[in-house]
């Protein structure tokens, strides 16, 4: 009974934070099958670690750590060609100017995928509006280092997105 309750609680929290996992899968895996595999592995790792979650940190911080650790070092990287995400694979934009947003998102995802693994995590946390303090808690890099990384990543992303093939 207790385990069932715990499982229900876990599933509800995962459902609530599903978007974070999907975004992490989208920036670390290029192919749809790789994204499915990564999504599965992240859920497996979260469920394995769930009994040790004591609530000392926020659930989202705990989830970010496990999901990023899984995406960054927990899966053996396959040598794959640089395949850009298809427009259809980009998560839908919710608003009216849907087409423009989707185009921007597509370009953004493609540009982020060209960054080194750690920079991708920094950029994602930045886009999710996390403070440098929270980023430090998740990644373990000093706030100074994170600021330097973010400034460099922004420059790189701007340059990449301005390339004609990105069409933004």
């Amino acid at each position: 009974m207790h385990q069932n309750g715990s499982q229900q609680e876990f599933l509800a929290l995962i459902e609530q934070h599903r978007g974070i996992i999907i975004k992490i899968c989208s920036i670390y895996a290029r192919q749809p099958t790789e994204r499915e595999d990564l999504f599965q592995e992240i859920v497996v790792q979260l469920w394995k670690a769930w009994p040790s979650f004591k609530g000392l940190s926020k659930f989202s911080t705990w989830l970010y750590r496990i999901a990023l650790n899984t995406a960054i070092s927990g899966i053996r990287k396959k040598k794959t060609e640089l395949v850009f995400m298809d427009q259809a694979e980009i998560p839908e934009a919710a608003e009216e100017d849907h087409a423009l947003k989707k185009e921007q998102l597509s370009a953004l995802y493609r540009a982020i995928q060209e960054l080194p693994e750690i920079d991708r995590a920094v950029v994602m946390l930045f886009l999710e509006d996390h403070s440098y303090e929270e980023m430090e808690e998740i990644l373990g890099l000093s706030q100074g280092a994170l600021r330097v990384k973010m400034a460099r990543a922004k420059e790189k992303l701007k340059k990449t997105i301005q390339k004609p093939e990105y069409g933004v």
Binding site: L11, D37, E41, I66, L68, A93, L127, E128, L141, V148
Partner: protein, 211 residues
């Protein structure tokens, strides 16, 4: 277009993409490199236990127990293997901390994986000379206490210098070859993964030093 503008697009994402039903994933096995290494290690251990148990039982019961000493030899070697697997399993159990900060998890993984691969190479290399020395001791202690009957052991016919020289020559070359084969094999198995982890760890360190 300013980078900040992308934030709006990022936040506008709907996250109802039906990737997979989460409940059905809870019973699945992890496919991470560490989980795979643990599974391989367990399978190797089970294979060794079954194989050695069969040999031990065979020599204990066949030939009216005349060759029971061979069972003892295999029991010792089997126990040695169990210790070897235990040490490897312990290293694998401490290799990652998924709920830790990304940088400390990477540092831990690189450190333990380097220890693990070093132990793999050293144990794999040492096993050959150790087994030969053990075999000689065992033959002398249990099978043929007459030194003259044991090949290469110093005796009335073989001087100690000759015995040591031939033994070293006999052992050194195969051990060196074994070392390089082991090194190549371990590198093939884990080299790329360790390199990738090191590169990522470098990404976390280089900026910290600059700031």
């Amino acid at each position: 277009m300013e980078f900040e503008e992308f934030k709006d697009a990022w936040k506008s994402q709907k996250n109802d993409e039906p990737l997979q039903e989460v409940r059905s994933l809870l019973g699945k096995k992890s496919r991470s490199p560490i989980a795979t290494m643990k599974r391989h290690l367990t399978m190797e251990l089970i294979a060794v236990i079954i194989l050695y148990a069969a040999i031990i039982i065979y020599y204990l019961t066949a030939f009216h127990g005349k060759f029971y000493s061979i069972s003892v030899l295999y029991l010792f070697i089997g126990l040695f293997f169990c210790l070897y697997y235990y040490k490897k399993y312990r290293l694998l159990n401490n290799i990652e901390c998924m709920a830790c900060q990304v940088k400390s998890n990477l540092t831990k993984q690189v450190g333990v994986l380097e220890k693990y691969t070093k132990f793999y190479v050293l144990a794999g290399t040492a096993i050959l000379p150790l087994l030969v020395v053990f075999f000689y001791w065992f033959e002398y202690a249990f099978i043929a206490p007459d030194r003259n009957k044991i090949f290469l052991l110093p005796s009335d016919q073989v001087s100690i210098f000759k015995a040591v020289a031939v033994f070293l020559l006999w052992m050194t070359i195969p051990t060196i070859i074994f070392y390089y084969i082991n090194k190549w094999y371990v590198r093939k198995l884990y080299g790329k993964h360790v390199e990738q982890l090191k590169q990522m760890l470098l990404q976390t360190e280089d900026e910290s030093n600059n700031s």
